[in-house]
Symmetry: C2
Subunit: 338 residues, 2 copies
Amino acid sequence: LLSADSTQQYLSELDATMRHVVNSLPEDPPGFGVMMRYAMGWADENDQPYNHPTGKRIRPILLLLCAEAAGSDWQTALAAAAAVELLHNFSLIHDDIQDDSPTRHGRPTVWKVWGRANAINAGDALYTLAYCALERLSDSIPADTVIKVWRIFNATTLELTRGQHLDMQFEHQASVTVDDYISMIRGKSAALVAACAQIGSLIASGDDELAARYAEFGLNLGIAFQIRDDILGIWGDPSVTGKSAATDITSRKKSLPILYGLGQSADLQAIYQREPFSEIDVKDAVQALDTVRAREYTQASESAYYQQALAALESANPQGKASQGLMQLVQALFQRTY
Amino acid sequence: LLSADSTQQYLSELDATMRHVVNSLPEDPPGFGVMMRYAMGWADENDQPYNHPTGKRIRPILLLLCAEAAGSDWQTALAAAAAVELLHNFSLIHDDIQDDSPTRHGRPTVWKVWGRANAINAGDALYTLAYCALERLSDSIPADTVIKVWRIFNATTLELTRGQHLDMQFEHQASVTVDDYISMIRGKSAALVAACAQIGSLIASGDDELAARYAEFGLNLGIAFQIRDDILGIWGDPSVTGKSAATDITSRKKSLPILYGLGQSADLQAIYQREPFSEIDVKDAVQALDTVRAREYTQASESAYYQQALAALESANPQGKASQGLMQLVQALFQRTY
């Protein structure tokens, strides 16, 4: 994602920090810790080494870049970076149970391997490990600042659960507005990205006002990121995204282009009444979206959030080499194809 | 449970603190907060007032008594007391999904009312609210001590998940030893009771060594408490416990008297091969347990843990009126019939 050498260094120390925390779990019973190591991409289901980290670690990298850009060395913020990545992975374990998803990153999900009851518990444990990581911040910054960071972390997790609730509710809700949808992704996706930028800069500066600007940057970046996901979920190239074509239509996901399209196109509404969806129906739906220019609408929305993110970042006046890293990250995410 | 006026005062301020934290949830969407209020016994499933607090609030009362006995006023520790009770209730929401339990405290469980996916999320939110409550400690004690308390809280929650893992594993495990069993209840039940005593006394004194003595008191009290539950699960009077007769035999729970009995009685092993259990089988099982004096064995074990709890409490040298409250609590729990 980022070519800079510094990112590689981030990733290797981040990994070491997260492993240190997760491996603090008692070895007994042996069947316990393996679930968390599996979820992190460090172990296979028999607890044998497996080295394919799940996900791109964008959130902790963002946190470390913001810490550096706000005047700290990034090592100071490592514990917090580990915490947000562990939190993210906890939420995926529970999401996969809630959505009944059988695979993630090309492997069976935790509940598929160990059953739902164990997976709920493994998620709870990984969530706790996120707090264990965060608490280690007290080795590097003043206790008062640690507590401020903790408060942001708590509020963020509540936002995650609120967003998740809305997302599940939308499945059974006849009409979902674009505003409802933006409120949902603010909670489910963007709140954690906002927290990364806010926490990184707060650790570096102790300055609430500066951290609020970074939070604004992260929130808009997170919304734009999710909207890009929505575009790829319909028009993405399967050979690049690794997902099937128009996957969000097949699964009838209420994503932004679809909500917009349903509001603009009686054809699309009619197609969405059909049950089940054939391949022809999926093509008809994409056609109907294209007719009302849903892709252009969604891209304009993505651009608008990126512009707001960039404006907020500029107002935060990031410093040094990390400021270039931040710009590079934003540009790499904008209109990405993967 | 406790006749002292002070306990009533504890309960009313504890309730106010917990409500304050839970009601900090956003009102939107309206269907979200109701699940947490329902779980706490404050609302019915339509979010109408319902005033039957779930459970006896023994844990937060213990925490407040230990704070007072270690030299603080109990109000200083209220945020922590709220946190442990919220944590306990979060764990019940997830336990009920994991155990497929349809009712708790005479009402349908959260997952029965809102479905499993929502209940997982409601549990996650209530868990986060426990941290939100705990963080409020920073209004009343130094930040360094808050972080120490937080560290205990994290370690305790990991113990809860470890104990829960063992408990679920035992269901599919042919042979469970008494040692395995004690290790499981240390995590699943006693760790949180230990944390209450440790946190209360640490908040009051800032003294790690004193807090360790209180932790030892709480750990033994918690183990004894669970063993008493096991006795009541077989020999309890249904009109007092509110549960059906010999409920733990009917559900084939691997509780302490049963594990002991299986180790001592070939008759009981044979009865446990029968599938399904008739009422006669349940009576035969109780008979077999009585023959090997499993009740006496279990009561002796309960007594031994109570004695250790009392010795640890004495070594902590609790002060003032609260020291009497603590003795009263221990005595009320020992050999209880409800």
